[in-house]
Symmetry: C2
Subunit: 364 residues, 2 copies
């Protein structure tokens, strides 16, 4: 029998909360019986809904929280006045060791800000990043940062590369994941200064670094991990999502365009349903905040139960595979006191940080 | 009968040149009988190939050029030593008035550098941008910059917005195109400093400015023109291309996955072929360099004849619609002597630049 895992759920975050959260927990519980939940939210609303959710009720505890972080609330406001919110209390539970991870479909900025303040970054990491994985021609590829850091230094990018590599090992099960830096051309002369600097550092390091990749390499699965600043990563992610939606819509219209096509649909229906499941964005729901002393998974604001369950599954995989302990063990550089403080270069340690040496965890 | 139009073709640029160029010219000539071509390249190779291309031969002239710009040549090298290349001579023909536009599938950086030096930017434009258009849920959307300018100032972005709007009016036929700025969130606080500055300027201006848009708005067709710096624009474009390829491949695999699906394919075949044509990237081949005193269209390096013909079609549309004259008329600000020179703010002119006033053509 596998060890029990407790996950904190922000029951009030997301467009379809709390129903989608509770139903998502039901689905996740069916998939992973070892899960227990601490459910943070308005007890008066949650308790009646959970009455008939026997599976979840048996292994969950509702923790009443009076406040909710609004989806349009500024991160700073949420930090200041959201101390009794479901989101904050769920994160607190991770810090206090009551839960091994937290899942929320609420306000991204607020979640990131609270998680940073409450859980702190792992020593050696200046800034946490948002990571997720996507279907590709060759399997699945992880990408980060997806929007947490609009501007990034070369050091940030190098740290993202290391965290992403660890994420691919832990969640995707790649043994030695390859890593690429997102750029606009593969020639070394191209791209921003920070990119070229990160490229130079990664080339010397111990990761399976494949050099620069371009936007079309993401879906091609050229590398296992695509590293980008939060702006480009977010643009790439959303452009891809938009295009997938567009092509799906074109396919749908195609089968409605003639009687023969409609008949064809009937024959191919079963295969087409499988196709839909294959590209279902809900299978790829759940961006993870990497670099914190705790597992934090952010589901899409519009998540339904299935999407939320996927997010819970990502948290569960990371917990089961001891992601946080691995990260702490591999990043044992000097503590990062602040995101922007530039530290003095340390003497390279022979066994430091996946062979990247001190360069990876100090400014060069 | 429509007026004759002469277009200069760089016959030696691109992976499949010169054959793809000559065949592309044949297709374009069939579509647009008013076209004549000046074909620049190695006469010894071109002449035998053209023997059987009667349609093109009749309305073309080969201009022998001894040199070719290699696809991996640096722009600076090409500028210095490529004076007798097919690419350079084709651009020269536009400056000399022998051709109304030039089409090349060659080295993008070299083409941009040569075009800038030979044709110069339109007064009021600091930097040319690469633009193209894409299929969306609502029709077609233009996007720029696609990679010519890695870093952009707020002024650059504002100028791109104006050029893109003009491009959408001229090539897509939108009467009053809506314009959006690519960002990672629609809240005004997000994004780079330059983006927020450009946003503030555009809000005050006379364009149908819709504010910030995100990556998924491109394929959704939320606006007619998406404005981005060259880095994000290129990432968005290539991520979208990669995703379209991925979904197409998944669809292909779906119809091979079972006998029933294969039978379904037979029924829906005609509709599916139409679908393929609808998303065929060759229909959207040809990025245009906007902001120059001349029409320059860059086809994808891997263009086949059909792709090259599309590029010729874009050049032809812009020429027929008097794009350059319109641009010169609408941008009548002070001449930009250099891309990086910051000019003194001019007194706003009441009728300046589509109502954006002097702010759009001077640094603020």
């Amino acid at each position: 029998m596998s060890e029990r895992i407790t996950i904190a759920l922000d029951a009030m975050g997301g467009d379809n909360a709390p129903r989608s959260v509770l139903r998502g927990a039901t689905i996740a519980k069916r998939r992973y019986p070892e899960l227990d939940f601490l459910i943070f939210g308005d007890e008066e609303r949650l308790a009646p809904m959970m009455k008939r959710m026997i599976r979840v009720r048996r292994s969950s505890m509702i923790v009443h929280t009076p406040d909710v972080v609004a989806s349009d609330e500024k991160a700073a406001t949420a930090l200041r006045s959201g101390r009794n919110s479901s989101m904050r209390k769920a994160i607190d539970a991770v810090r206090n060791g009551e839960a091994a991870g937290v899942v929320s479909a609420g306000n991204t900025g607020a979640l990131m800000a609270m998680a940073k303040v409450v859980l702190k970054t792992v020593p050696g990491i200046d800034r946490p990043a948002m990571a997720s994985f996507f279907p590709t021609l060759r399997g699945e590829t992880a990408m980060l940062d997806l929007g947490a850091n609009i501007e990034c230094s070369a050091d940030n990018l190098v740290q993202f590369a290391m965290m992403g590599e660890m994420f691919a090992r832990t969640v995707l099960g790649s043994l030695r994941p390859t890593v690429g830096l997102l750029n606009v051309g593969s020639e070394e002369v191209k791209g921003h200064e920070e990119l070229r600097e990160a490229h130079a550092i990664l080339k010397e390091g111990g990761l399976a670094y494949s050099g620069f990749v371009e936007g079309d390499d993401i879906a091609a699965g050229t590398v296992d991990v695509v590293v980008a600043d939060g702006f480009s990563g977010n643009v790439a992610l959303k452009s891809a999502e938009g295009t997938a939606k567009l092509v799906n819509e074109f396919v749908r219209q195609t089968f409605k365009s003639s009687l023969l096509a409609a008949i064809g649909y009937l024959f191919a229906r079963r295969a087409l349903i499988k196709l839909r499941a294959r590209v279902d964005p809900r299978r790829y729901n759940g961006a993870t905040f990497l670099g914190l002393n705790g597992i934090v998974v952010k589901c899409h604001g519009g998540s339904d139960a299935l999407g939320f369950a996927t997010g819970v599954g990502v948290a569960r995989d990371m917990i089961r595979n001891g992601f946080i302990d691995k990260m702490a063990a591999e990043f044992h550089g000097p503590a990062a006191a602040g995101a922007d403080r530039r530290r003095e270069p340390a003497e390279p340690e022979p066994d430091a940080v996946i062979g990247l040496g001190a360069r990876a965890v100090s400014s060069s």
